[in-house]
Structures are given as structure tokens and as C-alpha cells.
Amino acid sequence: MIPFAADITIRRRDRRTWNLWIPLAVVWLLLLPLAILLLPVILIACLVRDVDPACAIAALWRILNSLDDTEIDVDKPEMSFSVHLY
């Protein structure tokens, strides 16, 4: 399933912390018209490069679906940053 939300935490050395919760469902809805507009461009690019557009779109959709439950944590002395998609 595509991730519907993201938790982003940024913590600085001076212990200031920012917690951000992003509803990705809204982001996907906002990007949907853009994706529809870009669809002809993607189709033309696939035809030019001799790539099956259906396979390409299916592969991208699979990648998007696989992002659920991804975690990235970067912990440096100056700051730490973490992202959790779910």
C-alpha cells in the first residue's frame, strides 16, 4: 500500500526539536492532476526510448507501494533527522 503519512523529526544540537507530520494522502491527491498532465510526456518518452509504457508505469507504481514502513535515521553530532513513512 502506498504510504499515507510521514513523520519527520529534526533535532538540533541545542536540543531544539521539530516534529512534522505530513499527510501524504493529501500530497498524492495534489500530485494526481500533475501526473495526469505529465502522462502524455511519459508515454512519448517511453516510445522514444523503446520502453513499454505500461511496464514502466506498473514498475513505478510498485515502487510507490513498497515505500510503506520505510525508516531513515541520520544521527550526526550537530543534528539528527528521522523520517518514517507509513
Binding site: 526510448r49 523503446d50 520502453v51 513499454d52 511496464c55 514502466a56 514498475a59 513505478l60 510498485r62 515502487i63 507501494n65 513498497s66 515505500l67 510503506d68 514502513d69 520505510t70 525508516e71 531513515i72 535515521d73 541520520v74 544521527d75 550526526k76 553530532p77 550537530e78
Partner: protein, 148 residues
């Protein structure tokens, strides 16, 4: 179980037992649990659960710096890698040749066009816990890759 059944059939062929007795013996064999699995169930460890995530941990210690180490911890679902392998199959031939050429230049002799989902499953099965120590002049790093 097959060995016992074969013995019963041999005895039947030699006339040592009748057909009814052979049938009863075979039915009794099928009813009782296999001795190896029954004995081993108490002592063997349960099968390893199928891993769902790939975790990559990088710990970098800059020797010149007085601050602590930098740690990067990434957890990605294995589904993402499987989807990525399938994406590799639709890469145009020109791009694939370019990538293969770059990999060969760096001493990595693999063809990304030949990577199949089965290859990834084999790697996941064998990937228990890999630790790579990187030792440069001014920094040391430890990279740990494992499935969980």
C-alpha cells in the same frame, strides 16, 4: 517411511505376509507420525521467519573530530528491492550498456540486465549479517547490512 513401505512390499512379494497384512501394515505406517520430525520437534529451533526489511547501518567516526560518531540507520521494506529489480528489466538498452560499462570500469563484473527476482531472493536468504569496516586516513566507518 518409503523404506518401511518398500520392506512391506518385499515381504509381500516373498510371500512372508498376506495382502491383508500388508495393507494393515501400510495403513499403520501412514497413521503414525514420522519418527524424525517427532523427535526433532523438541530439539530443533523453529524455522527462521521470512525477513521483511533490509537494514543498513553506517557508523562513521571521524578521528580528527572531537564530536561523537555519525550514525545512519536506514530500514527499507524488501518489497522495495523486489520492485526495484523489476524496474531494472525495463531500463533501455543504451542506458543498461552505459551502466554496465561504468560498473565494469570499477571492477564490478555484473550485468544489470541479467538480474532476476530469483537472484534477489537468493541474496536475501544468504544475507544474515554483513559487517564491512572501512578504514580511511581521517575517518573510520562500519557498515552493517542485514535483513530483519
Amino acid at each position: 517411511m518409503n523404506e518401511n513401505r518398500r520392506r512391506i512390499l518385499e515381504m509381500l512379494a516373498k510371500g512372508q505376509i498376506s495382502a491383508d497384512e500388508a495393507e494393515r501394515l501400510i495403513a499403520a505406517l501412514e497413521k503414525e507420525p514420522a519418527p524424525t520430525t517427532a523427535a526433532a520437534s523438541g530439539s530443533e529451533t523453529p524455522p527462521k521467519p521470512k525477513p521483511k526489511y533490509l537494514r543498513v547501518q553506517v557508523e562513521e567516526q571521524k578521528t580528527a573530530s572531537a564530536h561523537g560518531p555519525s550514525v545512519v540507520n536506514v530500514r527499507v521494506p524488501l518489497q522495495l528491492l523486489r520492485a526495484g529489480v523489476k524496474l531494472a528489466s525495463i531500463i533501455p538498452e543504451q542506458a543498461r550498456d552505459h551502466v554496465n560499462g561504468a560498473l565494469h570500469d570499477r571492477g564490478v563484473g555484473i550485468d544489470i540486465g541479467q538480474i532476476r527476482p530469483e537472484n534477489l531472493e537468493e541474496i536475501i536468504d544468504q544475507l544474515d549479517d554483513i559487517v564491512i569496516d572501512v578504514d580511511k586516513k581521517s575517518e573510520k566507518a562500519k557498515v552493517r547490512i542485514f535483513c530483519e
